[in-house]
Amino acid sequence: MRNLFTLLRTDLVQRLRDKSVIIFAVIVPLALMGAMNLVMGDAMDGDLETATVAVSAPADDQLAQTLVGVLPEIGLDVEITETDADDARARAEAGDAKLGLVIPEGFSSALMAGQPAEITAIRGDGAGIESTVVLSVIQGFLDRAAASAVATTAGANLGLAPAQLGGLAQQVATGESALTLATGEASNEQLDPKGALVAGQAGLFLMFTVSFGVLGLLAEREFGTLARLRSMPMNPQLVVVSKVLSSFVLGVVATAILLTVGGRLFDVDFGSPLPIGVLIVSAVIATTSLTFIVIKLAKTSEQASIIQTILAMVLGIAGGAFFPMSGGGVLGTILDLNPVAAMIRGLGITSGGGGLADILTPVLIMLGFAAVAMLIARVVPDRGAMA
């Protein structure tokens, strides 16, 4: 045990003296988080803004005015500016309104007479999700108005009196649907975009950080110190164990630093420290387990560096380190079994208030990943540093 402790301490001191550990484990990920936050800060800000709508609607047109009256009641902040058609268009083009809406003269009468009637919507700069919601409401209104016109025409064809036709149109336009919509709730296991950025970068660079243990082992061989260590009166496997443990310690410390500093910088709350700690340790176990395979495969530190970088980039990007990856069916399951994805998923659960019991699935995925990697490492023939 004392031998192992000495080896581990020496390894950690060597790694800390190596500039590349600090660069890869802390500086690059923080710089990348900062750069991405700077350039995409606005796009990542998920808050809904006020939907500014410049509307040109004939004052004496009943349906047009009803439509304008509906817009502020759609569960979104809507700011209506009534103006003329040219100005509505100009405001949208200038970016002063997210949406310009032009309802033509005679809209109601054309619609009720079954004549073509067209509303023009102009999506301006930064129209965003808000204008999509408004457009959806307008389309729903038009569908109902069209149904009302069809019913009125049918009534007229059947010889109903004008007074009855008015009531008919009203009944269809405002009639209760037999289908009602109740709103339920699901738990929130999503990180906001900034949280996903911090967690993703921490996961990606964890893959690089844990690789330094293997690189250390190969460096020992290249410098000739490995043979000398193996001649010492101790179990030769302790050398490998110390390298893996140094990877583990570096991984835990670097990820904890990245999540803490990243969380502070980008104002992200990942939740309670205990489940976060469990997630970090599980993620580090999963990623460190890969180093056992790399040790078996890589003959030189250059080879190890390449294999580890390939694993890091593929697992990192597939895990959602830069942008969330989505997929259904088998693809979705494969994406879920990735330790980086599992860590981000776990942090999503903890940020939504989840505790230890709630993160069981991602933790099991990460530990399962580690078990499979260790199994593969046992089966793979040793061609690497210890061969």
């Binding site: 800060g41 301006g124 999700i129 149904a147 059947l158 269809v172």
Partner: protein, 387 residues
């Protein structure tokens, strides 16, 4: 010049023969272009809705209505749907249970439960669902209204069918004047990802490849070159040319492969190659600077990858420059990537000519001259420094 060309040729052969470069030079950029194109390219839809509940007429009707509104519809069991909503893999979950289906079939009222996602982006899908569900039985509303007016059911249904053919449906014409959608109009699914990845990888490969320059200095290759009848200027020129050849080769490969595999439209190929050539000059200069100021290969790879990623993030290599704020777009133009991005945008999207991209080429050429002169000076100095 012959000596410089010979040195450059050797550099390219060393680069191509290095197995470690195979993945990152030939495979990884294409993987990223594919992933970016699959996740973000192509036409968007009006949201994702996951339906749950037994197969029924109501469920089918809701799904068809949503699909007609360009909503992407999928089916899952209740728990899977809740998990998808919680994890943001779908925007809205919709429960159409047996009770609602039976009641709907019997002509009674039915309630459908909507489980909205927590992300603000789910608002648009929520509104689509609201419109789809509440307008689903408009035909029944029309029938009821006519029956209430004293028309027998069968007669009313026939009259409605006839009237539907007589009434022109009102339309909503959406005009996009926002610069973002106009900018990306007509762009192929993989086009944007291809040009941004070309800039990212050309620069990153060059910077990370600066480690071979350090290696050449360490192994005394530079010193031995000078022992031959080769002047210092020729040796430095050869190294600069070697860096440029590697960068141009990497970029040229991405252009060719993305054109063949993903039908990426590079516009005027001569102009695109010219942009790449000038951009590669900047990358070569930057690689020489890095390879001369650092004396450790590991640190050079770390700094190269880090700088390559950060500069790409700032310069539009990870997210389109068009979504940046005005300030960040100005900041982005301290990087060569942003100028390269603008030039490719001009050629790829707007069919720009040489005159149109002269400003961008001019800035890139100036950056290249500065980087190459600095790199040459630093390399000359570094030759006198012991490693």
């Amino acid at each position: 010049m012959r000596a410089a060309l010979a040195i450059a040729g050797v550099e390219l052969r060393r680069f191509v023969k290095d197995k470690g470069n195979v993945f990152f030079t030939f495979i990884f950029p294409l993987l990223l272009v594919f992933v970016l194109g699959s996740q973000f390219g192509g036409s968007g839809n009006a949201g994702r809705v996951t339906l749950t509940g037994p197969s029924s007429d109501l469920r089918t009707a809701v799904a068809e209505q949503l699909e007609s509104q360009e909503v992407s519809v999928s089916f899952a069991d209740h728990d899977a749907m809740l998990e998808q909503v919680a994890r943001g893999r779908t925007d809205v979950g919709l429960v159409v249970d047996q009770e609602a289906a039976t009641s709907y079939d019997d002509g009674g009222t039915a309630q459908v439960e909507m489980i909205p996602g927590s992300a603000t982006t789910s608002m648009a899908a929520q509104e689509q669902v609201r419109v789809a569900v509440t307008n689903l039985d408009l035909h029944q509303v029309q029938l009821t209204a006519l029956e209430d007016a004293g028309i027998p059911g069968s007669e009313a249904a026939q009259a409605l069918d006839d009237a539907a053919g007589q009434v022109a449906e009102p339309t909503l014409e959406v005009v996009n004047v926002d610069s973002l959608s106009q900018e990306f109009q007509g762009l192929g699914q993989f086009d944007l990802g291809a040009s941004s990845q070309l800039l990212l990888f050309t620069f990153l490969t060059s910077l990370a490849g600066s480690s071979t320059l350090i290696n050449a200095r360490r192994q005394g290759v530079m010193a031995r070159s000078l022992a031959a009848p080769v002047s210092t200027t020729q040796a430095v020129l050869g190294q600069a040319l070697g860096r440029w050849v590697i960068a141009f080769f990497q970029g040229g490969y991405i252009m060719l492969a993305t054109w063949l595999l993903f039908s990426v439209d590079w516009g005027n190929i001569g102009l695109s190659l010219l942009i790449l050539a000038v951009f590669a000059l900047v990358a070569a200069g930057a690689a020489m600077v890095l390879g001369s100021i650092l004396d450790n290969e590991g640190a050079a790879v770390g700094a190269g990858v880090g700088l390559g990623l950060v500069l790409a993030a700032i310069g539009g290599g990870m997210a389109p420059l068009e979504i940046f704020s005005d300030t960040m777009r100005r900041v982005a133009h301290i990087t060569p990537h942003a100028w390269g991005y603008d030039a490719f945008a001009e050629v790829q999207r707007r069919g720009g000519t040489l005159v149109d991209i002269l400003p961008q080429l001019g800035v890139l050429a100036a950056m290249a001259a500065a980087a190459l002169l600095l790199g040459a000076w630093l390399l000359r100095r570094s030759m006198a420094r012991s490693l």
